[in-house]
Symmetry: C2
Protein backbone atom coordinates (compact mmCIF):
# COMPACT_ATOMS: atom_id res chain seq x y z
CA UNK A 1 0.00 0.00 0.00
CA UNK A 2 1.17 3.49 -0.94
CA UNK A 3 2.90 5.68 1.62
CA UNK A 4 0.13 8.08 2.49
CA UNK A 5 2.45 11.00 3.06
CA UNK A 6 3.19 10.84 -0.67
CA UNK A 7 -0.29 9.94 -1.88
CA UNK A 8 -2.19 12.49 -3.94
CA UNK A 9 -4.27 14.62 -1.58
CA UNK A 10 -7.87 15.29 -2.49
CA UNK A 11 -10.22 18.00 -1.33
CA UNK A 12 -13.82 16.90 -1.87
CA UNK A 13 -16.64 19.43 -2.14
CA UNK A 14 -20.08 17.92 -1.57
CA UNK A 15 -23.55 19.26 -0.91
CA UNK A 16 -25.53 16.07 -0.69
CA UNK A 17 -25.50 12.39 0.09
CA UNK A 18 -21.87 12.05 -0.85
CA UNK A 19 -22.06 8.59 -2.41
CA UNK A 20 -19.22 9.50 -4.77
CA UNK A 21 -17.20 10.63 -1.75
CA UNK A 22 -17.99 7.30 -0.10
CA UNK A 23 -16.76 5.49 -3.21
CA UNK A 24 -13.42 7.32 -2.94
CA UNK A 25 -13.16 6.62 0.81
CA UNK A 26 -13.93 2.92 0.41
CA UNK A 27 -11.50 2.57 -2.49
CA UNK A 28 -8.79 4.17 -0.35
CA UNK A 29 -9.60 1.92 2.62
CA UNK A 30 -9.30 -1.09 0.31
CA UNK A 31 -6.02 0.07 -1.21
CA UNK A 32 -7.59 0.63 -4.63
CA UNK A 33 -6.89 4.36 -4.72
CA UNK A 34 -3.43 5.95 -4.80
CA UNK A 35 -4.91 9.10 -3.32
CA UNK A 36 -6.42 10.11 -0.01
CA UNK A 37 -9.24 12.44 0.90
CA UNK A 38 -7.51 15.16 2.94
CA UNK A 39 -10.57 17.31 3.63
CA UNK A 40 -14.29 17.49 2.84
CA UNK A 41 -16.00 20.85 2.44
CA UNK A 42 -19.71 21.47 2.16
CA UNK A 43 -22.05 24.40 1.71
CA UNK A 44 -24.70 22.53 3.74
CA UNK A 45 -24.43 21.80 7.49
CA UNK A 46 -26.76 18.80 7.05
CA UNK A 47 -24.86 17.16 4.19
CA UNK A 48 -24.42 13.44 4.99
CA UNK A 49 -21.08 13.69 3.20
CA UNK A 50 -19.72 15.47 6.29
CA UNK A 51 -20.46 12.51 8.56
CA UNK A 52 -18.96 10.05 6.10
CA UNK A 53 -15.69 11.96 6.40
CA UNK A 54 -15.81 12.51 10.16
CA UNK A 55 -16.47 8.81 10.77
CA UNK A 56 -13.02 8.25 9.29
CA UNK A 57 -11.41 11.11 11.17
CA UNK A 58 -11.14 13.23 8.03
CA UNK A 59 -11.58 16.99 8.58
CA UNK A 60 -15.00 18.08 7.36
CA UNK A 61 -15.96 21.75 7.34
CA UNK A 62 -19.08 23.66 6.46
CA UNK A 63 -18.40 26.97 4.76
CA UNK A 64 -21.55 29.03 4.85
CA UNK A 65 -22.19 30.33 1.33
CA UNK A 66 -24.19 33.25 2.77
CA UNK A 67 -26.34 33.08 -0.33
CA UNK A 68 -28.90 30.82 -1.95
CA UNK A 69 -27.52 31.64 -5.38
CA UNK A 70 -25.70 28.89 -7.27
CA UNK A 71 -22.66 31.09 -7.71
CA UNK A 72 -20.49 31.59 -4.61
CA UNK A 73 -19.25 35.07 -3.73
CA UNK A 74 -15.50 35.57 -4.29
CA UNK A 75 -14.90 36.10 -0.56
CA UNK A 76 -16.58 32.77 0.16
CA UNK A 77 -14.50 31.05 -2.51
CA UNK A 78 -11.42 32.49 -0.79
CA UNK A 79 -12.45 30.62 2.36
CA UNK A 80 -12.75 27.38 0.38
CA UNK A 81 -9.31 28.00 -1.12
CA UNK A 82 -7.76 28.65 2.32
CA UNK A 83 -9.22 25.45 3.75
CA UNK A 84 -8.03 23.44 0.75
CA UNK A 85 -4.55 24.97 0.94
CA UNK A 86 -4.26 24.32 4.67
CA UNK A 87 -5.15 20.69 4.01
CA UNK A 88 -2.38 20.48 1.39
CA UNK A 89 -4.82 19.51 -1.35
CA UNK A 90 -3.46 18.64 -4.81
CA UNK A 91 -6.75 18.01 -6.57
CA UNK A 92 -10.29 19.18 -5.87
CA UNK A 93 -13.15 16.77 -6.57
CA UNK A 94 -16.70 18.04 -6.92
CA UNK A 95 -18.84 15.15 -5.67
CA UNK A 96 -22.35 16.48 -5.92
CA UNK A 97 -21.48 20.08 -5.05
CA UNK A 98 -24.53 22.17 -5.85
CA UNK A 99 -22.68 25.41 -6.49
CA UNK A 100 -21.02 26.90 -9.56
CA UNK A 101 -17.25 27.14 -9.25
CA UNK A 102 -15.99 30.65 -9.94
CA UNK A 103 -12.78 32.44 -10.84
CA UNK A 104 -11.16 32.35 -7.39
CA UNK A 105 -11.20 28.55 -7.08
CA UNK A 106 -10.36 28.09 -10.76
CA UNK A 107 -7.35 30.41 -10.56
CA UNK A 108 -6.08 28.76 -7.39
CA UNK A 109 -6.48 25.20 -8.73
CA UNK A 110 -5.98 25.54 -12.49
CA UNK A 111 -6.88 22.25 -14.22
CA UNK A 112 -6.91 20.61 -10.80
CA UNK A 113 -10.66 20.63 -10.18
CA UNK A 114 -12.68 17.75 -11.51
CA UNK A 115 -16.36 17.06 -11.64
CA UNK A 116 -18.47 14.01 -12.37
CA UNK A 117 -21.58 14.56 -14.47
CA UNK A 118 -24.34 11.96 -15.11
CA UNK A 119 -24.35 12.10 -18.91
CA UNK A 120 -22.06 11.43 -21.84
CA UNK A 121 -21.08 15.06 -22.34
CA UNK A 122 -21.47 17.09 -24.51
CA UNK A 123 -24.99 15.59 -24.45
CA UNK A 124 -27.26 16.71 -21.61
CA UNK A 125 -25.25 19.22 -19.59
CA UNK A 126 -26.83 20.93 -16.63
CA UNK A 127 -29.49 19.68 -14.25
CA UNK A 128 -31.46 16.42 -14.38
CA UNK A 129 -29.24 14.83 -17.04
CA UNK A 130 -30.81 11.33 -16.72
CA UNK A 131 -34.26 12.87 -17.21
CA UNK A 132 -33.00 14.79 -20.23
CA UNK A 133 -31.55 11.56 -21.67
CA UNK A 134 -34.84 9.67 -21.20
CA UNK A 135 -36.87 12.47 -22.73
CA UNK A 136 -34.56 12.71 -25.72
CA UNK A 137 -34.82 8.96 -26.14
CA UNK A 138 -31.16 7.95 -26.26
CA UNK A 139 -30.42 4.22 -25.95
CA UNK A 140 -27.02 4.83 -24.39
CA UNK A 141 -26.56 7.17 -21.44
CA UNK A 142 -23.56 7.42 -19.16
CA UNK A 143 -21.35 9.62 -17.06
CA UNK A 144 -18.34 11.86 -17.57
CA UNK A 145 -15.43 12.91 -15.37
CA UNK A 146 -14.14 16.25 -16.64
CA UNK A 147 -11.92 19.13 -15.65
CA UNK A 148 -13.87 22.12 -14.41
CA UNK A 149 -13.56 25.40 -16.28
CA UNK A 150 -15.58 28.59 -16.37
CA UNK A 151 -18.28 27.10 -18.60
CA UNK A 152 -20.61 24.64 -16.90
CA UNK A 153 -20.00 20.97 -17.91
CA UNK A 154 -17.72 22.02 -20.77
CA UNK A 155 -14.24 21.34 -19.43
CA UNK A 156 -11.90 18.76 -20.98
CA UNK A 157 -13.09 15.19 -20.58
CA UNK A 158 -10.93 12.81 -18.54
CA UNK A 159 -13.08 9.66 -18.72
CA UNK A 160 -16.54 8.45 -19.65
CA UNK A 161 -18.64 5.39 -19.00
CA UNK A 162 -21.57 4.22 -21.11
CA UNK A 163 -24.77 2.89 -19.57
CA UNK A 164 -27.64 1.26 -21.48
CA UNK A 165 -31.10 2.82 -21.34
CA UNK A 166 -33.78 0.14 -21.01
CA UNK A 167 -37.41 0.36 -22.11
CA UNK A 168 -38.57 -0.02 -18.51
CA UNK A 169 -36.35 2.79 -17.24
CA UNK A 170 -37.71 5.80 -15.48
CA UNK A 171 -35.57 8.68 -14.21
CA UNK A 172 -34.90 6.88 -10.92
CA UNK A 173 -33.79 3.54 -12.36
CA UNK A 174 -31.62 5.16 -15.02
CA UNK A 175 -30.03 7.60 -12.56
CA UNK A 176 -29.26 4.68 -10.23
CA UNK A 177 -27.62 2.67 -13.03
CA UNK A 178 -25.55 5.71 -13.99
CA UNK A 179 -24.58 6.39 -10.36
CA UNK A 180 -23.07 2.89 -10.04
CA UNK A 181 -20.82 3.73 -12.94
CA UNK A 182 -20.03 7.18 -11.54
CA UNK A 183 -18.59 5.55 -8.43
CA UNK A 184 -16.42 3.18 -10.48
CA UNK A 185 -15.35 5.81 -13.01
CA UNK A 186 -14.49 8.47 -10.43
CA UNK A 187 -12.32 6.07 -8.43
CA UNK A 188 -10.58 4.76 -11.56
CA UNK A 189 -9.99 8.24 -12.90
CA UNK A 190 -8.62 9.72 -9.67
CA UNK A 191 -6.39 6.67 -9.28
CA UNK A 192 -5.06 7.15 -12.80
CA UNK A 193 -4.53 10.86 -12.17
CA UNK A 194 -2.47 9.92 -9.10
CA UNK A 195 -0.23 7.71 -11.22
CA UNK A 196 -0.28 9.18 -14.72
CA UNK A 197 0.70 12.51 -16.16
CA UNK A 198 -1.98 13.61 -18.60
CA UNK A 199 -1.18 15.47 -21.79
CA UNK A 200 -3.47 17.98 -23.46
CA UNK A 201 -3.97 18.46 -27.17
CA UNK A 202 -6.49 21.25 -27.54
CA UNK A 203 -9.55 20.02 -25.65
CA UNK A 204 -8.34 16.46 -25.85
CA UNK A 205 -6.80 14.70 -22.84
CA UNK A 206 -4.31 11.90 -23.54
CA UNK A 207 -3.01 9.39 -21.01
CA UNK A 208 -1.89 5.89 -21.78
CA UNK A 209 -3.78 3.49 -23.91
CA UNK A 210 -6.37 1.89 -21.66
CA UNK A 211 -9.80 3.32 -22.14
CA UNK A 212 -11.85 2.96 -18.98
CA UNK A 213 -15.48 2.83 -18.45
CA UNK A 214 -17.51 1.19 -21.18
CA UNK A 215 -19.98 -1.14 -19.56
CA UNK A 216 -21.98 -3.95 -21.05
CA UNK A 217 -25.75 -3.58 -21.03
CA UNK A 218 -27.65 -5.62 -18.45
CA UNK A 219 -29.32 -8.33 -20.47
CA UNK A 220 -27.92 -6.85 -23.64
CA UNK A 221 -26.28 -8.68 -26.50
CA UNK B 1 -35.23 -18.94 -43.66
CA UNK B 2 -38.08 -16.48 -43.93
CA UNK B 3 -40.38 -16.56 -46.95
CA UNK B 4 -39.04 -13.63 -48.91
CA UNK B 5 -42.41 -12.68 -50.32
CA UNK B 6 -43.33 -11.75 -46.74
CA UNK B 7 -39.99 -10.35 -45.66
CA UNK B 8 -39.78 -6.63 -44.98
CA UNK B 9 -38.78 -4.87 -48.19
CA UNK B 10 -36.08 -2.23 -47.98
CA UNK B 11 -35.23 0.61 -50.32
CA UNK B 12 -31.65 1.71 -49.78
CA UNK B 13 -30.46 5.18 -50.80
CA UNK B 14 -26.68 5.47 -51.09
CA UNK B 15 -24.28 7.97 -52.57
CA UNK B 16 -20.97 6.38 -51.73
CA UNK B 17 -19.12 3.19 -51.05
CA UNK B 18 -22.20 1.47 -49.70
CA UNK B 19 -20.50 -0.54 -46.97
CA UNK B 20 -23.65 -0.32 -44.84
CA UNK B 21 -25.64 -1.58 -47.84
CA UNK B 22 -23.13 -4.43 -48.16
CA UNK B 23 -23.65 -5.26 -44.48
CA UNK B 24 -27.41 -5.56 -45.10
CA UNK B 25 -26.91 -7.67 -48.24
CA UNK B 26 -24.46 -10.04 -46.53
CA UNK B 27 -26.70 -10.40 -43.49
CA UNK B 28 -29.60 -11.29 -45.78
CA UNK B 29 -27.48 -13.80 -47.74
CA UNK B 30 -26.51 -15.42 -44.43
CA UNK B 31 -30.09 -15.54 -43.15
CA UNK B 32 -29.36 -13.02 -40.37
CA UNK B 33 -31.82 -10.43 -41.65
CA UNK B 34 -35.60 -10.84 -41.82
CA UNK B 35 -35.70 -8.22 -44.54
CA UNK B 36 -34.53 -7.93 -48.13
CA UNK B 37 -33.13 -5.07 -50.15
CA UNK B 38 -35.74 -4.57 -52.88
CA UNK B 39 -34.06 -1.65 -54.65
CA UNK B 40 -31.02 0.62 -54.39
CA UNK B 41 -31.23 4.24 -55.47
CA UNK B 42 -28.34 6.65 -55.85
CA UNK B 43 -27.82 10.27 -56.80
CA UNK B 44 -24.39 9.35 -58.20
CA UNK B 45 -23.86 7.20 -61.33
CA UNK B 46 -20.42 6.18 -60.04
CA UNK B 47 -21.57 5.04 -56.57
CA UNK B 48 -20.03 1.59 -55.84
CA UNK B 49 -23.23 0.84 -53.96
CA UNK B 50 -24.96 0.39 -57.34
CA UNK B 51 -22.61 -2.44 -58.37
CA UNK B 52 -22.98 -4.15 -55.01
CA UNK B 53 -26.71 -4.37 -55.67
CA UNK B 54 -26.48 -5.32 -59.34
CA UNK B 55 -24.04 -8.12 -58.58
CA UNK B 56 -26.89 -9.70 -56.64
CA UNK B 57 -29.49 -8.96 -59.30
CA UNK B 58 -31.11 -6.24 -57.19
CA UNK B 59 -32.51 -3.29 -59.17
CA UNK B 60 -30.21 -0.28 -58.83
CA UNK B 61 -31.18 3.07 -60.32
CA UNK B 62 -29.50 6.44 -60.56
CA UNK B 63 -31.89 9.33 -60.18
CA UNK B 64 -30.15 12.45 -61.38
CA UNK B 65 -30.61 15.14 -58.71
CA UNK B 66 -30.19 17.86 -61.35
CA UNK B 67 -28.55 19.97 -58.67
CA UNK B 68 -25.40 20.05 -56.57
CA UNK B 69 -27.37 21.35 -53.59
CA UNK B 70 -27.80 19.00 -50.62
CA UNK B 71 -31.56 19.42 -50.74
CA UNK B 72 -33.34 17.57 -53.56
CA UNK B 73 -36.03 19.34 -55.59
CA UNK B 74 -39.59 18.10 -54.87
CA UNK B 75 -39.96 16.81 -58.43
CA UNK B 76 -36.80 14.74 -57.99
CA UNK B 77 -38.05 13.38 -54.66
CA UNK B 78 -41.24 12.37 -56.49
CA UNK B 79 -39.09 10.19 -58.76
CA UNK B 80 -37.46 8.56 -55.74
CA UNK B 81 -40.89 7.93 -54.24
CA UNK B 82 -42.19 6.37 -57.50
CA UNK B 83 -39.21 4.03 -57.74
CA UNK B 84 -39.56 3.01 -54.10
CA UNK B 85 -43.32 2.45 -54.49
CA UNK B 86 -42.85 0.36 -57.64
CA UNK B 87 -40.38 -1.81 -55.74
CA UNK B 88 -42.95 -2.32 -52.97
CA UNK B 89 -40.67 -0.85 -50.32
CA UNK B 90 -41.79 -0.89 -46.66
CA UNK B 91 -38.82 0.92 -45.15
CA UNK B 92 -36.26 3.31 -46.61
CA UNK B 93 -32.68 3.08 -45.34
CA UNK B 94 -30.26 5.95 -45.87
CA UNK B 95 -26.86 4.26 -46.13
CA UNK B 96 -24.50 7.13 -46.78
CA UNK B 97 -26.91 9.18 -48.86
CA UNK B 98 -25.37 12.63 -49.25
CA UNK B 99 -28.66 14.51 -49.70
CA UNK B 100 -31.13 16.03 -47.28
CA UNK B 101 -34.47 14.24 -47.26
CA UNK B 102 -37.36 16.64 -47.85
CA UNK B 103 -41.11 16.83 -47.39
CA UNK B 104 -42.10 14.64 -50.35
CA UNK B 105 -40.17 11.57 -49.18
CA UNK B 106 -41.07 12.18 -45.53
CA UNK B 107 -44.80 12.45 -46.29
CA UNK B 108 -44.75 9.32 -48.43
CA UNK B 109 -42.81 7.25 -45.90
CA UNK B 110 -43.81 8.71 -42.51
CA UNK B 111 -41.60 7.22 -39.76
CA UNK B 112 -40.41 4.65 -42.30
CA UNK B 113 -37.12 6.26 -43.25
CA UNK B 114 -34.09 5.49 -41.13
CA UNK B 115 -30.58 6.81 -41.13
CA UNK B 116 -27.35 5.74 -39.51
CA UNK B 117 -25.13 8.49 -38.12
CA UNK B 118 -21.55 8.05 -36.84
CA UNK B 119 -22.01 9.62 -33.41
CA UNK B 120 -23.97 9.12 -30.21
CA UNK B 121 -26.66 11.66 -31.03
CA UNK B 122 -27.53 14.27 -29.86
CA UNK B 123 -23.75 14.80 -29.72
CA UNK B 124 -22.03 15.70 -32.99
CA UNK B 125 -24.79 15.91 -35.59
CA UNK B 126 -23.94 16.90 -39.14
CA UNK B 127 -20.79 16.31 -41.12
CA UNK B 128 -17.49 14.77 -39.95
CA UNK B 129 -18.90 13.44 -36.67
CA UNK B 130 -15.82 11.36 -35.79
CA UNK B 131 -13.63 14.44 -36.30
CA UNK B 132 -15.99 16.49 -34.12
CA UNK B 133 -15.79 13.80 -31.41
CA UNK B 134 -11.98 13.75 -31.47
CA UNK B 135 -11.75 17.53 -31.35
CA UNK B 136 -14.20 17.73 -28.45
CA UNK B 137 -12.18 15.08 -26.65
CA UNK B 138 -14.87 12.54 -25.77
CA UNK B 139 -13.64 9.14 -24.56
CA UNK B 140 -16.72 7.35 -25.86
CA UNK B 141 -17.96 7.83 -29.41
CA UNK B 142 -20.43 5.67 -31.29
CA UNK B 143 -23.19 5.52 -33.83
CA UNK B 144 -26.95 5.99 -33.91
CA UNK B 145 -29.74 4.53 -36.03
CA UNK B 146 -32.63 6.99 -36.01
CA UNK B 147 -35.86 7.79 -37.78
CA UNK B 148 -35.51 10.61 -40.27
CA UNK B 149 -37.58 13.74 -39.77
CA UNK B 150 -37.41 17.27 -41.11
CA UNK B 151 -34.57 18.29 -38.77
CA UNK B 152 -31.17 16.85 -39.63
CA UNK B 153 -30.01 14.08 -37.26
CA UNK B 154 -32.81 14.86 -34.78
CA UNK B 155 -35.34 12.08 -35.39
CA UNK B 156 -36.26 9.53 -32.74
CA UNK B 157 -33.44 7.17 -31.87
CA UNK B 158 -33.92 3.46 -32.60
CA UNK B 159 -30.56 2.13 -31.44
CA UNK B 160 -27.07 3.23 -30.49
CA UNK B 161 -23.66 1.61 -30.14
CA UNK B 162 -20.78 2.94 -28.06
CA UNK B 163 -17.21 2.87 -29.30
CA UNK B 164 -14.13 3.75 -27.22
CA UNK B 165 -11.87 6.61 -28.32
CA UNK B 166 -8.21 5.70 -27.87
CA UNK B 167 -5.29 8.06 -27.34
CA UNK B 168 -3.72 6.98 -30.61
CA UNK B 169 -6.90 7.59 -32.63
CA UNK B 170 -7.00 9.96 -35.55
CA UNK B 171 -10.13 10.67 -37.58
CA UNK B 172 -9.48 7.67 -39.83
CA UNK B 173 -8.96 5.05 -37.13
CA UNK B 174 -11.91 6.27 -35.08
CA UNK B 175 -14.21 6.46 -38.10
CA UNK B 176 -13.20 2.89 -39.04
CA UNK B 177 -13.94 1.59 -35.53
CA UNK B 178 -17.31 3.33 -35.59
CA UNK B 179 -18.09 2.00 -39.08
CA UNK B 180 -17.66 -1.60 -37.89
CA UNK B 181 -20.33 -0.93 -35.29
CA UNK B 182 -22.55 0.84 -37.82
CA UNK B 183 -22.66 -2.35 -39.89
CA UNK B 184 -23.60 -4.47 -36.89
CA UNK B 185 -26.08 -1.97 -35.45
CA UNK B 186 -27.84 -1.29 -38.76
CA UNK B 187 -28.34 -5.00 -39.46
CA UNK B 188 -29.55 -5.69 -35.90
CA UNK B 189 -31.90 -2.73 -35.94
CA UNK B 190 -33.46 -3.48 -39.32
CA UNK B 191 -33.86 -7.12 -38.30
CA UNK B 192 -35.62 -6.03 -35.10
CA UNK B 193 -37.84 -3.63 -37.04
CA UNK B 194 -38.83 -6.53 -39.29
CA UNK B 195 -39.91 -8.57 -36.27
CA UNK B 196 -40.95 -6.07 -33.62
CA UNK B 197 -43.58 -3.40 -33.46
CA UNK B 198 -42.05 -0.27 -31.92
CA UNK B 199 -44.00 2.00 -29.61
CA UNK B 200 -43.41 5.74 -29.28
CA UNK B 201 -43.61 7.78 -26.09
CA UNK B 202 -42.84 11.33 -27.10
CA UNK B 203 -39.40 11.16 -28.69
CA UNK B 204 -38.72 7.85 -27.01
CA UNK B 205 -38.87 4.56 -28.94
CA UNK B 206 -39.74 1.42 -26.96
CA UNK B 207 -39.38 -2.14 -28.21
CA UNK B 208 -38.70 -5.15 -26.03
CA UNK B 209 -36.09 -5.27 -23.34
CA UNK B 210 -32.85 -6.12 -25.06
CA UNK B 211 -30.64 -3.12 -25.51
CA UNK B 212 -28.37 -3.61 -28.47
CA UNK B 213 -25.11 -2.10 -29.28
CA UNK B 214 -22.83 -1.36 -26.36
CA UNK B 215 -19.40 -2.62 -27.22
CA UNK B 216 -16.45 -3.26 -24.97
CA UNK B 217 -13.36 -1.14 -25.53
CA UNK B 218 -10.47 -2.81 -27.36
CA UNK B 219 -7.85 -3.29 -24.66
CA UNK B 220 -10.19 -1.68 -22.19
CA UNK B 221 -10.50 -2.30 -18.49
Amino acid sequence: MENETHALRLGVLASGRGSNLEALLEAHDQGRLAAQVAIVLSDRPDAPALDRARRRGIPALVIDPETTRARLKPEIEERYVSALREAGVDWVVLAGFFRIIGAVLLENFPDQILNIHPSLLPSFPGLHAPRQALEYGVRIAGCTVHLVNAEIDQGSILAQAAVPVLDRDDEETLAARILEQEHRLLVETVDRLAQARIRREGRRVLWGETSPGITRPNGGD
